[in-house]
């Protein structure tokens, strides 16, 4: 198989990565032994807006997880996401539009 210029040996790379993972594991274990400070009781309780929040109930909002990326692709989310509105007629309209697009594209490519 020709992979073009460069070298890629999957087995060598795997071994290197496994060694790297082992090293990282060792480092992690080592660092854990040094910094094994237990948080005091005062640190554990979290306050939000004057109320005490149970940390187990706090989860990240998965939809807003990548809000910077959302900001980068703002035009996309502004125009495409409302298209996925759950309305069947919109979806069918897309099918018809897609059919026309396909026909035009085929005509452009093959004629």
């Amino acid at each position: 198989m020709d992979f073009g210029p460069g070298f890629w040996g999957p087995i060598v790379a795997t071994i290197v990565m496994l060694v790297g993972a082992g090293l990282a594991c060792l480092m992690l274990l080592g660092s854990r032994r040094i910094a094994k400070a237990r948080p005091s009781i005062a640190k554990r309780s979290t306050y939000g807006c004057g109320e005490e929040v149970n940390p187990e109930e706090v989860t990240a909002d998965s939809e807003q997880f990548y809000s910077p990326i959302r900001r980068v692709f703002k035009p996309f989310y502004k125009y495409i996401q409302p298209g996925h509105s759950g309305k069947l007629n919109t979806y069918l309209l897309w099918v018809v539009i897609g059919f026309v697009v396909l026909m035009v594209a085929i005509a452009l490519v093959l004629r």
Partner: protein, 502 residues
């Protein structure tokens, strides 16, 4: 009898699906329902063995032509099996066997399992039918059986969401199938034949350079019907709904099976039926759009299965991109990605099913910290996630790397760059999923969650091992797809083998 393996690979699951309701009634009467389940597993494994039996013959470069009722091909229906069919048949039957084993535990708590297993075998039989047949209308009929069984399986649990998803899927799918049928009727009007090889021969006589308008219309109709099945943007809207609402075992079969079959049909139409490799330019653009839209929509999902569905849309874009490059390396990379996509997509959906089975929800906001409870599932899910985002040493990297190299060699650097960026986005949203499910704080109510049962873990482990093996030894995967590539570009060989020099 064994030389009839092509038809037996279709007939045995079909007969199994007819026998399952009878066996179901009998076993229900005697309270031995496990017998029915094991019967279904046996049928799927027999189908896989039949495909494996045909494998060496086809890989040696032969094309098996099986004539139904001893009629010669242009008039009778025949089954024609070349390297491309056998690859897809291998994927479909293998995944179906694993899914049936997985369903033993996963579907245990549902009622009406006789119907479930009937539909499972029916969808397997119809997928094998679509894959192995050499007749175009026959392909349409099996395609419709596959779609109808899929609609029924999506609505199987009859919750509000599965009903809604099934209705949307069904209306869109029926519209696509109608357009496909219209395309077939135009073909019949034009060339007066329904055998794929015969149509291909007659279309090559008509000539595709420049293409007549009616052929463009036909190609657009057929491609629309198939694009709905493989959920190419902008035909993808049914897929997240259906995948979110259907049982996970079924979704694993859909993602790995029906999508693969849809891609196979598209390749068959473009390369064998019309012989227009130049259409690759269109596939590249549409594949890129599919890739980008799928990945960007997946970034903002809250539900794990919905996220995976969008990711599946995105991966189909990669396959189309690889095939569209048109070079030998590109097509091989696309086909390799087809194989890999089936493996890790089934793995990821099975993991999602394991989580749903033990926890009862796939909402990412509610989950968290499950790696302590389900370490094996967490490990397998992470393997799948890394494989799908193209991290070495997993199989996704091998195929994606092949596609990148092919793209640069073909002089399409822009699309290659796009593919790499989408790969990064894939890693981003899957790491989000891993983070939300397995890491972080564990809510108190999940403290007693147990690891998934062994019957469910076994197929997942097998798929994960395949992920690693194909990643560490990518030349093995390339060896598997090379016969498919040879078959794909060898239109004349297919016509000659089926028609026998007529």
């Amino acid at each position: 009898m064994i030389e009839a393996a092509p038809i037996l690979a279709i007939i045995i699951p079909l007969m199994g699906s007819f026998l399952t309701p009878l066996i179901s009634i009998l076993t229900k009467r005697y309270k031995k329902e496990r017998i029915r389940d094991l019967f279904v597993v046996a049928i799927t494994i027999v189908t896989l063995l039949l495909v494996l039996y045909m494998l060496p013959t086809v890989w040696n470069g032969n094309i098996i032509v099986y004539r139904l009722g001893n009629w010669t091909p242009p008039w009778g229906i025949c089954l024609a099996i070349d390297g491309l069919n056998i690859l897809v048949a291998l994927i479909v039957s293998g995944i179906a066997a694993l899914v049936s084993i997985y369903s033993l535990m996963y579907m245990k708590n549902d009622t009406g399992l006789g119907k479930y297993y009937t539909l499972l075998l029916l969808i397997l039989a119809s997928m094998m039918g679509v894959t192995l047949t050499g007749d175009f209308f026959n392909m349409f009929v099996f395609f419709e059986i596959m779609s109808t069984a899929a609609y029924a399986l999506v609505a199987f649990r009859r919750n509000w969401d599965s009903i809604e998803a099934s209705i949307k899927y069904m209306v869109m799918g029926s519209l696509g199938a109608s357009l496909f049928l219209l395309g077939i009727s135009f073909i019949y009007n034009l060339v007066g034949s329904l055998n794929i090889a015969d149509i291909a021969q007659k279309i090559s006589i008509i000539g595709t350079n420049p293409m007549p308008l009616v052929l463009i219309l036909i190609l657009a109709l057929l491609m629309t019907g198939l694009s709905i099945k493989i959920a190419m943007v902008p035909f993808h809207a049914w897929m997240p709904d259906a995948y979110q609402a259907a049982p996970s075992a079924v979704v694993a079969l859909f993602a790995a099976g029906t999508t693969t079959v849809g891609v196979y049909m598209m390749l068959r139409v473009v390369y064998t039926l019309f012989g227009v490799a130049a259409l690759g330019a269109m596939l590249i653009v549409l594949g890129s759009v599919t890739m980008v839209v799928g990945a960007l929509m997946a970034l903002v999902q809250r539900d794990l299965k919905r996220l995976l569905a969008y990711s599946g849309i995105s991966q189909v874009g990669y396959i189309l991109l690889g095939v569209g490059f048109g070079t030998a390396l590109g097509i091989e990379g696309g086909l390799f990605h087809l194989l890999n996509n089936a493996i890790y997509k089934a793995l990821l959906f099975m993991c999602a099913g394991a989580i749903l089975y033990r926890v009862g929800t796939t909402n990412l906001d509610e989950l968290g910290g499950l790696s302590k409870n389900m370490p094996i599932t967490a490990c397998l899910f992470t393997i799948g996630a890394l494989a799908i985002s193209g991290v070495p040493p997993f199989n996704g990297f091998a195929s994606k790397w092949t596609i990148y190299i092919a793209g640069i060699q073909a002089g399409k650097a822009f699309f290659t760059l796009l593919a790499i960026i989408v790969s990064v986005l894939t890693l981003a949203y899957l790491l989000k999923a891993v983070n939300a499910i397995f890491l972080g704080q564990r809510p108190k109510r999940f403290e007693n969650v147990k690891e998934a049962p062994m019957t469910m873990l076994f197929p997942m482990m097998l798929l994960a091992v395949l992920c690693i093996v194909l990643g560490v030894l990518p030349s093995l995967g390339i060896d598997i797809v090379t016969p498919a590539y040879n078959a794909l570009v060898n239109q004349h060989g297919y016509i000659h083998a089926v028609l026998g020099g007529i």
